[in-house]
């Protein structure tokens, strides 16, 4: 009875920004680049290309999301991407594995399992995830160089590179489908599953989570395992697109992943964020890189633009994001 009175509150810029900040940034950028280069930027072909180029950032970002949701970070995603790609390629070419079996082993063993190890290290040592994953980033990258002898593993079966790296019905690039399916599954996980909900609780307040009966260690391990799994998916997409596994694949991509998550509105302190916004965050990065190319801006300036955008987006969130006001 008395609760009804307060409902008609004025819809402020703050409310708007809280809900639609990421999509607004994306829309503004598409409009700006579209206006500058209507004939080349705003073509179906180019937009599809942007999505395809973004799929790796999105996949890495989806995993990174869970590490950041816990208030942590996973710096090893780029190395996991390289390792799982290289090992899958090796299994196909040197060990003669069926491509699908090689993919399965690559994802489960060199993605999920490696992420699990990250999680176990974090919970067992009690060290900040930054330190643990900074360590595993270096270790895993080194392993990639050791197994590949620092040379590209090429000659992947055509059936593999055309199926994962190709296009469905000749139109939709498969990498986009992989990224969207992963995002859909993870959205379900975060919205409907109890363990997904628990991760938000854990990221909001570890102490409260422990006292509420959430098994803190197991959930932390799960978050890092998901991160590893997504990184391995990115690894598969990457080798399929290039039809080869480069030992230095994905170097520095962890920054893109983190940027996609943060631009996507997740709180760096944990507990706040949404999976679909990670997709938009990843697309924003893709649009910037592609759009600046189209406009003819030197690639030297692209990082500069990314950096500025990141700081501006988070600053706006800091001051206008309604959920952070309290």
């Amino acid at each position: 009875m008395k609760t009804k009175t307060i409902e008609k509150k004025k819809f402020t810029f703050s409310d708007y920004w809280d809900r639609y900040s990421t999509i607004t940034i994306l829309a503004i950028m598409i409009v700006v680049f579209g206006a500058l280069r209507p004939s080349s930027f705003l073509t179906t072909g180019n937009l599809v290309k942007i999505m395809e180029q973004s799929s790796i950032t999105i996949l890495l970002g989806l995993g990174e999301f869970f590490a950041i949701l816990l208030g942590g970070i996973d710096l090893s995603v780029s190395s996991i991407m390289a390792l799982s790609g290289a090992m899958t390629a090796k299994l196909m070419i040197n060990a003669g594995f069926d491509p699908w079996l090689a993919i399965l082993v690559g994802i489960v063993f060199f993605g999920l399992f490696v992420g699990l190890v990250n999680g176990v290290l974090v919970t067992a040592t009690g060290l900040p995830p930054f330190i643990i994953t900074l360590g595993t980033q270096a270790i895993l990258r080194s392993l990639v160089y050791i197994v590949t002898d620092a040379r590209a593993v090429s000659g992947l079966p055509a059936s593999f590179s055309t199926s994962i790296g190709g296009k469905l019905f000749g139109v939709v690039p498969v990498p986009i489908i992989v990224a969207l399916v992963a995002a859909a599954v993870l959205t379900f996980f975060t919205v409907k599953c109890q363990s997904g909900r628990n991760l938000y609780a854990l990221g909001g307040n570890t102490q409260s989570a422990w006292y509420a009966g959430i098994t803190v260690k197991k959930h932390t391990i799960i978050a890092f395992a998901i991160s590893g799994l997504c990184a391995a998916l990115a690894g598969m997409v990457n080798i399929a697109r290039l039809a080869a596994a480069e030992p230095n694949a994905g170097t520095g991509y962890e920054t893109y992943a983190i940027e996609a998550v943060i631009i996507g509105g997740a709180s760096f302190f944990g507990g706040i964020g949404k999976i679909p916004k990670v997709i938009i965050g990843g697309l924003i990065i893709g649009v910037i890189n592609n759009g600046l190319n189209m406009v003819g801006v030197s690639s030297y300036y692209q990082q500069l633009a990314m950096g500025c955008l990141l700081i501006i987006a988070v600053t706006l969130d800091r001051f206008f994001g309604a959920s952070r006001k309290s």
Partner: protein
């Protein structure tokens, strides 16, 4: 003799409470002045006024014959006031001499540059260490390697180095052995002989009789009086400390509550891995509210954490309705129907990033999910139902289910937490300081809810530092001191004197 410090009619108000009401306190050279009072009586607040951290609303402070309107921490320490808190403030990773001269390192000129004069520093440190009987340490010993008692001595040495005229010691003996206490007393006597004043805060009455010269007793922020320690027996001290009129906001017990059912929940020989509590056993009967009384640090919360599985135990069995429970973590406790309303709502009670609805739903959802809470689906409509039911039943004031719990008042946050456990259908609910920081109106609502839970057959255990709260609410009260149970009274025979006596007993 002219007192070093003279505080007159000090009044300090905080929103909603009068923390200090016309308190008089003075310290003369060469005396040990004891400050005695229950938890929350105002001892710490008074010392914070003396240190300049709080500005009193009324009253005057005279320090070394000079009256101060605005006593700042800087002026206070310049005037010779030095406070040694229970949580020692030494820096563990620095050595003794650096701790002693932190911020005031002796300097010397070398050409145009001014550099630290280590020779002077070492010599002065050695002299100070000798004064506090730490001659076995060198100036370069790391403070982190010292025992608590030795660290305390370093703090005292630091006070002397600062030329302190009054040294306040806040419960200095709480973590010392009998031997170390005697060593501390030797130093205190020496400080007296040098003409310094010592303010000694302690709950241990026998120590007070041994070392104190005068004693000032506070009660609920009010001034009881200042006496010569030799004129009071320990019983007198207790009476003066707790002898308040019982008035207030809690429920008095109707007669029928003296009838209880069988024992529903019990704990046998519980000892924590860190030995903060040892050998705790108690029974809870159906329909009964069981209270735990004691001083801060007596091990009450620590016991409850161990029962709830939030802290590791090395021994102890917990039974619910005759069945032995295996509780390794709070998840096990929850699965077995035990809930805990923790003392610090913000840190351990609810999730700041969760809406009211989610904060209420989480316990039942976790309870119903499988495999350590990993497997299970959330159900939005069921969540809403839970939130609405508890909103109705406990009358939580919120603008909507979707509002963040962190935006509610403390009392309503506590109601959300209560709603969470009620929605989870717990069989035993432990309350740790359930009304801390909650306004009077909500307090009595929470008491009524607790009584209703007990009437409905839910086991209710309350830890509280407020004696009137326990006396008004509970049917039986267990008293703890030093990690052990030192007494147990049915409400009919419980009095504040008895509780205070058991809480300060040193039989453990």
């Amino acid at each position: 003799m002219e007192p070093i410090v003279q505080m007159k009619d000090i009044t300090k108000r905080f929103p909603g409470v009068v923390a200090l009401n016309k308190i008089n306190f003075d310290v003369c050279p060469g005396e040990v002045h004891v400050l005695l009072g229950e938890n929350g009586a105002g001892k710490s607040t008074l010392m914070k006024v003396l240190s300049g951290a709080y500005k009193p609303d009324e009253g005057s402070i005279v320090l070394n014959g000079k009256e101060y309107d605005k006593l700042t921490p800087h002026l206070s320490s310049e005037g010779g006031i030095s406070i040694i808190y229970q949580e020692l403030s030494v820096v563990n990773w620095l050595d003794i001499r650096e701790n002693l001269f932190m911020g005031r390192l002796p300097m010397k000129k070398v050409g145009p540059a001014s550099v630290v004069d280590y020779a002077t520093m070492n010599a002065k440190t050695k002299e100070l260490l000798k004064k506090v009987n730490l001659s076995h340490c060198t100036p370069t010993t790391n403070v982190g390697d010292l025992s608590i008692s030795e660290k305390q001595m370093v703090e005292i040495a630091k006070s002397i180095a600062f030329n302190a005229r009054v040294i306040v010691m806040d419960e200095p003996t709480s973590s010392l052995t009998e031997d170390e206490v005697q060593k501390l007393f030797t130093i205190i006597r020496q400080l007296k002989a040098e003409g310094r004043g010592v303010v000694f805060i302690s709950h241990k009455l026998s120590e007070i009789s041994e070392i104190g010269d005068r004693i000032t007793i506070l009660k609920d922020g009010g001034y009881v009086g200042t006496y010569n320690v030799s004129d009071l027996t320990t019983d007198d001290m207790i009476r003066k400390m707790v002898g308040r009129e019982i008035k207030g906001t809690y429920q008095h017990l109707p007669e029928e509550h003296y009838q209880f059912g069988d024992v529903m929940f019990s704990c046998k020989n519980l000892t924590r891995k860190d030995h903060l509590v040892e050998n705790i056993s108690f029974d809870l009967r159906k329909g009964e509210i069981l209270g735990f009384s004691g001083l801060v640090g007596a091990g009450r919360s620590e016991t409850m954490c161990a029962v709830y599985g939030a802290a590791p135990k090395i021994s102890g069995d917990i039974f619910l309705n005759g069945k032995k429970l295996k509780i390794k973590n709070p998840y096990d406790a929850l699965r077995n129907g035990i809930g805990m309303v923790t003392e610090n709502r913000r840190e351990t009670g609810f999730f700041q990033n969760f809406s009211n609805q989610r904060n209420i739903a989480i316990a039942r959802q976790l309870k119903e999910s499988k495999l350590d809470g990993l497997i299970g689906l959330t159900n939005e409509s069921e969540e809403k139902k839970m939130a609405d039911e508890e909103h109705e039943a406990i009358r939580i004031k919120w603008t909507s289910r979707e509002q963040l719990t962190s935006q509610l008042s403390g009392g309503n946050q506590q109601k959300v937490i209560l709603g969470k456990w009620m929605a989870a259908n717990v069989k035993v609910l432990i309350f740790d300081e359930p009304t801390k920081g909650i306004d009077v109106g909500t307090k009595s609502e929470i008491y009524k809810l607790m009584r209703k839970l007990a009437d409905n057959g839910i086991g209710v255990i309350v830890v509280s530092s407020e004696m009137p709260e326990l006396l008004g609410l509970c049917d039986r009260i267990i008293i703890m001191a030093n990690g052990r149970i030192t007494g147990s009274y049915d409400i009919a025979e419980a009095t504040e004197e008895k509780l205070a006596k058991a809480a300060t007993s040193e039989m453990a």
